[in-house]
Symmetry: C2
Subunit: 359 residues, 2 copies
DNA sequence: AAGGCAGATGTTTACGTAAACATCGCGGCG
DNA sequence: CGCCGCGATGTTTACGTAAACATCTGCCTT
């Protein structure tokens, strides 16, 4: 029953065709294009997908018809037919940390390169409820795979209702035994930081760590501690911040009071920034009196006062590996596990120097 | 023809059902749930969508069956049927600027709140080809609306092939006559910056502007110029950076040479950071010798040396308005135009002070 | 010259969902 | 007592695409 054989006037209300409930206005379908081009819709499909076996002449006609009607394939129908969405979901906490953002960006770029779109699932507040909410939204979402930029204990806390058969890759975590994990080599970087300062002649190295409950912070602190012990040094007490520059400032005011503190390894560049301010305020010169080293190498690090020696994280590589891993897992359908570590690189600038001569 | 009346052994190859080409494993469909619950698939649909008119008993049976089979609705089929994806596409340049990231984050949160997902369309390099590429990817994408975080001249440069009937909202642009635009009140903020410095007693204000070709930079520079002229002051020559701290440093080395320069308005906080470093290096004290004001109020601004006076941008509000506008446009199907400006707020910290007494 | 084969195109069908319409049973009311 | 109406549920159909299969044309091979 074709609508064409009904006279238009028989439908006074008008617009009877395509009684969409949605908000999108009518668009041309393959059938429309086929009708205009005088071919079957299957031929339109072939042209649309660039298949061989279509005469150049026919192809031109179809393309012309497509253009005239402004045809664009309906991706919902496509996804339904093909059984895949060509979309990767990325679930992450607030994009307030440099690392998450850079990783996300790299993921988006890599995904685009592979022909995949990226759907962003933000979790406003890192509470269990919020995380669970994001995952339940995810359940209804049109994604073929998921990349989680989140510490795994929060992942665990939420009774995860991950859609079955959707592959997951996790960043920033140490759960390689349960998930596929991609992460920066936090331990290696931290050891390099400590070694750099010891090599300069410092007796020991203080650590301005990240917040309690953060695995990244934990691993950096552990590695710092281990590196000192291995070198036969006594680790000073751990000082904690919350990643923010402000917390680094507060911790710095405290550290400035310790005259025996000549070298500080801050767990990220923002806290190092606050630390620099506190030391400056208290008249402790960097690097003459105190050496400071950061972690991340944010773009601004080279413009701190003084320019910050820090450990460069290759977030682009992390993001790329996430996409690569998750797509491979999709293809082999695989419960692959294990952790891929991306090395850091020490960037020496002007905030580290040998300790002041003993007086 | 139901598959149920064919004996399983008649298909030796196995797996004949669901010969998916895609990568997703088989999931239960409504029909499967219906069969198990002993109802029709339409009843399953009603339960799935929370419609009334289903006995509580039936509902429970269906829910049990759903749970047993791990049913989750197929969003592709849903989108196809409903004619909408409940997804907003966000197209943006590299997420290296604070503003873009914060705006994106706010968009994602607002969209989630409205039940919409956000698909990210990154444009690696701001060349015409890249932008065009992103838009052509967009064409095939399952989105109901698009938010563009990009300067409009790049939008124009790309021969935009926006899907018809997909609503667009643009951020960071002055094309209110052609698009729906949401932006920070760049001009108002810049005037406030200049006024703040003049009120402190400075004779004039220098401007460390953003790169040539950026509308945001242009508008900030124009407003700076206009505010000075209105106040009867002579605008010094414009100095340009490229938004990076490094460029601010380079420009700062130059500015430090001008002894008559007592106040600088930097077009963003990163450049202000570089400027602070340059001034410090050249022995020009901030704020005693030179006052510096930034723009953006990035989280670290309060930890600069000295803490930076700057103009706070409310990116969260910008993002929220983007979503609100684009959804409204979708609903009214509307070619609405015009610009919505979000005001800035002056945050006075310690980098500005009255000029040094004339000697 | 006949058979066949390959390439071009058309036809059928299914993907999973949900609107529209059909049916069924039961209680209330005239 | 019978009919109407309504609530609960089932059946049909369409959304747009693309795989699988069917058909048709014409040229090449023997």
């Amino acid at each position: 029953m074709d609508t064409a054989d009904r006279t238009p006037t028989s439908v006074p209300g008008g617009g009877r065709r395509r009684p969409r409930t949605g908000t999108r206005a009518q668009t041309a379908s393959m059938a429309d294009v086929a009708r205009l081009a005088g071919v079957s819709s299957q031929t339109v499909s072939r042209v649309s997908n660039g298949y061989a076996g279509v005469t150049d002449e026919t192809r031109q006609q179809v393309l012309a018809a497509m253009k005239e009607l402004g045809y664009r394939p309906n991706s919902a129908a496509r996804a339904l037919k093909r059984g895949e969405f060509r979309t990767i979901g990325v679930i992450t906490f607030s994009l307030s940390t440099t690392g998450n953002v850079r990783t996300l960006e790299a993921i988006a770029n890599s995904a685009a390169h592979e022909g995949y779109a990226v759907t962003l699932l933000p979790v406003a507040v890192p509470t269990q409820d919020e995380v669970r909410g994001a995952f339940s939204r995810l359940e209804e979402l049109a994604v073929d795979a998921v990349i989680v930029i989140m510490e795994v204990h929060l992942l665990d806390a939420a009774t995860i209702a991950l859609p079955p058969h959707v592959q997951v890759v996790v960043v920033d975590s140490d759960a390689g035994d349960r998930y596929t994990v991609v992460d920066t080599d936090q331990a290696g970087g931290s050891r390099a930081a400590v070694r750099h300062l010891l090599d300069l002649g410092h007796t020991t190295v203080w650590h301005l760590g990240g917040p309690d409950g953060s695995f990244a912070a934990q691993r950096r602190a552990d590695a710092w501690h281990a590196a000192l012990v291995e070198a036969g040094r006594t680790p000073p007490p751990l000082v904690r911040g919350d990643w923010s520059a402000e917390s680094g400032y507060r911790a710095g005011l405290d550290l400035a009071g310790h005259q025996d503190c000549t070298a500080v390894f801050a767990a990220n560049d923002q806290m190092a920034l606050g630390l620099l301010r506190a030391l400056n305020e208290r008249g402790r010169r960097v690097p003459e009196d105190v050496s400071v080293i950061g972690f991340d190498d944010i773009p601004e690090a080279g413009s701190f006062l003084p320019p910050l020696t820090t450990l460069h994280q290759d977030f682009a590589e992390v993001g790329r590996l996430c996409v690569e891993n998750v797509l491979r897992k999709m293809r082999i359908g695989g419960g692959e596990r294990g952790t891929t570590l991306v090395p850091t690189r020490l960037v020496v600038r002007e905030s580290t120097a040998p300790p002041p001569a003993r007086t």
